[in-house]
Amino acid sequence: MLAESLALTAALFIIGVIGVLIHRNAIIIFMCVELMLTAVNLTFVAFSRFYGTAGQVFVVFVMTVSAAEAAVGLAIIIAIFRHRQTINLKDINLLKG
């Protein structure tokens, strides 16, 4: 089942990448990043059958990081929304030259 898991991981990760590229809603882009992180977790679990349980420990770490990232990222989105009344990335281009 390793090959199937890796193929599924690749497909899910790329769906996440495409989502980040085509959407302009900051919240949906965040969800796409979460999808990419989850896809990577599937690789860790699939390989842990061959390389021992350390892979599953790394999944726990990835989950912690993604939870922290979601908390900080959503706080940033709320702060931006307070300033600009929008989360459409088309309207948030302060740093664009």
Partner: protein
């Protein structure tokens, strides 16, 4: 190298894989954040089922609790808080050129990963075929994770607590707003 799997196992594996893939595709094409979040939860659930089938029961439970439970609920809270539930207009999605470019980049990445997947695994790192089953018998579902987590990866585990503290502080400082600020 891989053990033999029963037909039911293979069928269920493909079933959950197809559900995950279909939900992810539906998720990425939604314009409403709420619909997208719910389809993403569906993907997370089917991935949790795959984790259980791959002998990672604890990770599967964590997936349901942390991802499908906590993280997606936080996303929905923000959607509700900012009143963004209504679907965004067509202008919110990028133009055809961007979508085409995204599709091409996706295809390039997919072919790259398929090429990498054909390379051989380093043999000297491979554990015996029933290593995980033995660990499961010896240490139980939680112990299988806890033993390496609290022995080999103790430093990383402790550093994680610092990371979480920083994240909590950052979220509170950013979310506090101007009204309660220093002024």
């Amino acid at each position: 190298m891989e053990p033999h799997y029963s037909l039911v196992y293979v069928f269920l594996f493909y079933l959950f894989g197809v559900i995950a893939l279909a939900s992810a595709l539906t998720f990425v094409t939604r314009k409403s954040p709420v619909a997208a979040a719910l389809w993403l939860v569906n993907t997370m659930f089917s991935l949790a089922a795959l984790y259980v089938m791959l002998d990672a029961q604890f990770v599967g439970v964590m997936q349901v609790l942390v991802y499908a439970g906590a993280i997606m609920v936080v996303f929905l809270f923000v959607v509700m808080l900012l009143n963004l539930g209504h679907p965004s207009e067509l202008a919110a999605a990028r133009g055809t050129g961007w979508k085409l470019a995204a599709g091409l980049i996706g295809l390039a990445l997919l072919s790259e990963i398929m090429v990498i997947a054909r390379t051989k695994l380093p043999e000297q790192l491979i554990v015996p075929r029933d290593f995980n089953e033995q660990q499961l018998q010896k240490l139980n579902v939680v112990g299988m994770i806890a033993e390496p987590l609290f022995k080999d990866y103790l430093l990383a585990f402790e550093l994680t607590s610092v990371l979480l503290l920083v994240a909590i502080t950052g979220a509170v400082v950013l979310g506090r707003g101007r009204a309660a600020g220093a002024r």
